[in-house]
Amino acid sequence: MRSNQETSGASSRGDVHEGVPRAAAEQRRENAVELREAEVRFGSRVLWSGVDLNLRAGSFAAVLGPNGVGKSTLLKVILGLQPLSSGRVAVLGAAAGRARGRIGYVPQRKSFDRSLRIRGLDVVRLGLEGSRWGIPVPGARGRRVKNAVAEAVSVVGAAGYAARPVGQLSGGEQQRLVVAQALVREPELLLLDEPLDNLDLANQGAIAALVQRICRERGVTVIMVAHDVNPILPYLDEVVYLAGHAAVAGTPRDVITTETLSMLYGAPVEVLRASDGRLVVVGAPEPPAVHSDRHVP
């Protein structure tokens, strides 16, 4: 019943937009992702609710927050793999799920099986060819695919090892190839789920810089789920901070503050800035791990 009201409310708002079609269209184009009063619940348990989000096209945003707060779920909502229990979501001006072909997605990963002998190049190629039926026919299309794969591989700086079996590459090398696989589809929106996990500090910085370059040079909107904001802080335009079943979005300077986070957590939290510019959040209550994507055995 409640969700019915929400839906009708949303559609009437849509009608208002149609009254000024040009402005509405531009508004939609400007925002790569829009969430209105979004709520996700599993049974009776609310993961988060009342989430409003406007993410400008072409920006680099991070999704932050403690474990189990629903960061990965937010990406799945944007992909249309997880339905909202109420509210609405628009992705690249369409309903979530309709835009999937224009989204590049890099899920949270452990790593490729060491014995997997498929080459990095073939993994990247799957981004373009993997959802096509039938046998590849040699010809103009084949050459285009080959060029696109080579270009994506060189953008991420993986040309030196892309021809080696992917299972034998290091975590950072595999991560670059998976980003290349997402890029080869020429997405308008890139969703990265903890891409810096399991990487050493040098590689974390390098991947973060690479993602920012892709965002700036190709105009790709990037949403990156991150465990630690510090390696990516210099590159970010916006952050979405999830905590206490709610979210705050804005520039890092506005969001990662003692006042905002204390309000979000509903408990006194302190944000400290170390002398090297690193941010440390102190006193954040870790919620009991009732639900966590990260720790499925």
Binding site: R100, L126, S131, G134, V166
Partner: protein, 290 residues
Amino acid sequence: MWSSLRDLFSYPFMVNAFRAGTIVAIVSAAMGWFMVLRRQSFAGHTLSLVGFPGAAGAILLGLSSTLGYFAFCVGAAVIIGTAPRAATRASYRDESAVIGSVQAMALAMGFLFVSLYHGNLNGLTSLLFGSFLGITSGQVVALLVIAAGALIALGLIARPVLFASVDPEIAAAAGVPVRVLGIGFIVLLGVAVAETSQITGSLLVFALLVLPPATAHVITGRPLLGIAISVVIALVVTWVSLVIAYYTPYPTGAFITTLSFCTYVAARAARWASDRSRSRGAAVAPEVAS
């Protein structure tokens, strides 16, 4: 030498054995390449064994053994394919338990059917180890039709299956129907196994299904090249084995398995040697640089 080969092909039963062997080798080598990639060798092995009670049961009921092979292999494939399975490792464990249960039950049923039949032991041997040398032209045509169908179906789903095997999560996000494809592939594998078992028997089908593809995976990670190598190995092994079996009193299946196994061991040894020399080269390189 040449005249003795001509001699060999003057017998229709040898010609049919070569035709059937060729068809069976191509289908199992291509299917097997995906099976090994997907780490479904255990499922493939079970599908192979399931043909035995199928055929034995069909003979017991007075039906054609072909019907038994297909009914049991495809039935088992549906059970294994719809068994709980997702991207996580936990459900792989579930899958192997389901497969193991199916396999145990199948073997018990096969044993029971054979005892109930009181039939001759010869029949049992050919169910388990095949009968390359008693194939009719009609059987060859039937093999060809089913093989062509299975290969066309595999070709249609090849790239999405490759995607779903390498990275199920990304494939699902890109709109590939991972679960449906998984079921489709294993049913196709069941069809290929049922077909091949009629010639190779239930125990030896697995040799052609796993050894040439596993060898190809050791040699190269390139999908198309790997499938081609797998098919070539299977063809050469089958042809050579048929010739050897013609001149010796021993069964074809034994030679097929032995030759495939030797190829596999040789490929592993070569891979080990080349990896070792490469890593030694890498260790030496800095010294050279300094």
